[in-house]
């Protein structure tokens, strides 16, 4: 179930957090669901406003599993900077489903946003 090519035009990891880490740390995630019987090899590319894209970041989503990947945790080939506007593409070798979520805890009470990503074949 799903598609192979996804894009998320919004991206911003807030600087600063309130509450216990890691659950309340300000973060952005891409949630990837692989309902199929074959592991998904996924490449994430991160786009910026003023420099060339970073990546690809490579990861595996095993068959019949989900992975919720924090952009904060992407380190190889380079970390994603905080407080910086970015966007991303998520390309898989098998169909997957992708959703994008931010938790913003810069202020004492957290705020959330989420949306289905853009998909195409």
């Amino acid at each position: 179930m799903g598609r192979r090519r996804w894009a998320v035009a919004e991206g911003y990891i807030p600087e600063g957090s309130n509450g216990p880490a890691p659950t309340m740390t300000s973060h952005e995630s891409v949630c990837i669901l692989n309902t199929g019987s074959q592991d998904a090899q996924v490449e994430i590319t991160v786009y910026f406003s003023d420099r060339d894209p970073a990546g690809p970041y490579r990861l595996t989503v095993p068959a019949r599993r989900t992975r919720h990947v924090r952009f904060n945790d992407l380190k190889d080939p380079e970390p994603v900077p905080l407080g910086t506007e970015y966007a991303s593409t998520i390309v898989s070798d098998v169909p997957v489903v992708v959703q994008h979520t931010r938790l913003d805890s810069r202020q004492a009470e957290n705020a959330l946003l989420s949306t289905i990503a853009y998909a195409e074949d």
Copy 2:
């Protein structure tokens, strides 16, 4: 109106709540709308990062009715654990429309997220 196969890649029931139960209890829901003249037999499957999927959870959405199902309330064949990343598929025998919502009241003021689910034929 709608589609038969839906997926939600995000899933997380926050542990801990502030405010009166059940309305302000931290929860996640799938909202299912059946605009047709025939009852919808729906199966929800819950996917995890580190174990086999749970389910199917079976429920009926009567003709021309909506049901907002809290993952917190799914008990058979097993409860959905709190504080755990998951994802879900929602498969119906007739077309329905599915939306995914979280209310997070871990902190004193609640936060909300919602998105249309991913659909395919």
Copy 3:
């Protein structure tokens, strides 16, 4: 631009509000955009979990205009109850674009959710 048939599976007007009315009153809206050169005649139907649907609620979105309709303000043929789970369909005689938004101010600080609605021809 857009489609003629839309559905929103989520629906819930929180009971209780904090902050000045009407801007901070807890509410749900459907935002309808008509980019065309012909007025859109729109019918909203509201679905419930335990009774027959309400409506249709009829309204016009003039050519090249947007209307953000609060479910709180729908009165004819009947008001939409607070604190009750519902869903809705939005059917137009010309293509429009529909988005669904909730402002929840039950607690001192408000929370927001929004999503594109489900569309079909």
Copy 4:
């Protein structure tokens, strides 16, 4: 990757903000991602409930870049008023991906909403 024609039916820049500018200023953005090898020439048109549309606002999203455009910052041909319901279309000469986000900091703690925009060819 993406489409050429996008629409966002929701639009509202809250009046008033809490927290340091510009990051915590109440605002709405369209996030535009151009993954292609050619610069995107983009025109934004803003629709209202009671007057003719404003725009087009013209901007460029360079190849392999993202731009997160605040409606608050659109000045030419005219600013977008605060506290006013609006909607928008985003039309590009090459495929792009568009997402819509609001940060509302009228109250002490901020609230967020975001959704993929509506796309068509």
